[in-house]
Amino acid sequence: MSTSSTFTASPFVGKTFGITVAKLNKKFGRTTVLRDIDLEVKPGEIFCIMGPSGSGKTVLLKHIAGLETATSGEVRIGEYDAADPETRNKVHLALVFQAGALFNSLSVYDNLALYPREHRECNEAGIRERVMHALAILSLEKSANKFPSDLSGGMKKRVAIARALVMEPQMLLYDEPTSELDPVMSATLTEIIATLREQTAVTSVVVTHDRDLAFNIADRMAFVMDGRIRGIGKPADFKNPTDPVIANFLNPVIDLKNPRFKQLENSHE
């Protein structure tokens, strides 16, 4: 599959924004999910956030997308406050949700066409061209008239990515983009993320468990563990990590003679 086709440039493309997260804390009731998160994503950078399940990666991504309000601290996109709804009028931002978050009452085509239609960015012929182009990139042309309920988990994910492409964003946030995808589609997606950055200078934040994805495309990466930043740096810095926790996360040793779940069972006794 080729990803060499040029992505159409929207009026927004050209301006790039960085992200600054400062002393971000988030509590849900009594549970603290994020603790003193500080990080900076440079304009046009591909930044990967890795960490175990439940460590707070998605909550951090939602703060960047303006879908959550911080308990304390702040997130800024360029000079704008990410939590301010007005920011969405100034920064073209797309979020690829882990489960797709497709509109179940709309066909795949209408899911993709919704954004340009609502924002009246072009006429119906222009919208069709943009939608079919995005569908072609993800090999979804034949699914244009299907409904999300007819699609597999992986296909839903691809439609969600295609929907983000139609938005021609300046900032792309991905929540586990390669989960539920087969290895070939994962590789394609890795290429798409890199190509998009190359062609449109889009700033990308990728929350992932996928080591191959992160090490192939990230300019920099951060490890979030138990709501804190455990490590931050270039992929080369983590090829042979000195931090045993990060090393264990990236290269877990499978020990069939002394399995982890048995260790956990014993620790509860």
């Binding site: 969405r88 931002l93 949700f97 489960a99 509109f103 919704l114 954004y115």
Partner: protein
Amino acid sequence: MNHLTTIVGHIGGTLLLLVRSIKFIGTLPRQRARFIEQCYLIGYTSLPIVTILSFFIGSVLALQSGYSMENFGAKQFIGTLVGLTMARELGPVMVAILIAGRVGSAITAELASMKVYQEIDALTTMNIPPERMLVLPRLAAIVVMMPVLAIIANLCGWYGGALVCEYTHSISVDSESYFTALKEFMKPHDVTDGLIKAEVFGFVIVLVCSYIGLNTRGGPREIGASVTKAVVTSLILILVLDYFVTKALLMS
């Protein structure tokens, strides 16, 4: 105190939803497809049940009043009683209860499901306000369809009463006398007061059910809980508002 704070918070949230939705009223012309779809769902699909129910309510009202008014020799006023009761009270209230159960529950279920499955979050990140796309067309549709449904409910109730009076041996009031009594003591404002009430109830039902749906948190189980909450809240609000709106209309 905590409970009171929660209630005040919900009232504030509902009013905020109203303000945020009304803000986009200028976008209604280009949302006409959604508006027409909602008119169809709210109005047209509710018609059979509104027709059947109001017909039988009018019939029962005539039957009961015929039975009791015979003792006072006041059978000739059955038309007035059925006419006024349907127009001022039972028509709008019954339609509102039906709309709360049929339409309000569907609105909450749909919006709650969209919220739980992150479709609302997706809209927000796409800079498409859910209030504009999901709430405003429904509010506009209920404003148009509620008086229509209330008028149909009144007519069905009146004709149901007329049929019962004509063909029930113990009542035996012919249709002409029934409708003469109905017209003689009814004034136009009796009907318009009922329509105003229907309008208020419908608007509040859609607003409250949308608010509850959009504020659902958790998983699929909460969708069911939200629907129950929306219908119960709507029913309580209909009856409480009924008293205050009636009082205000009678004083005006």
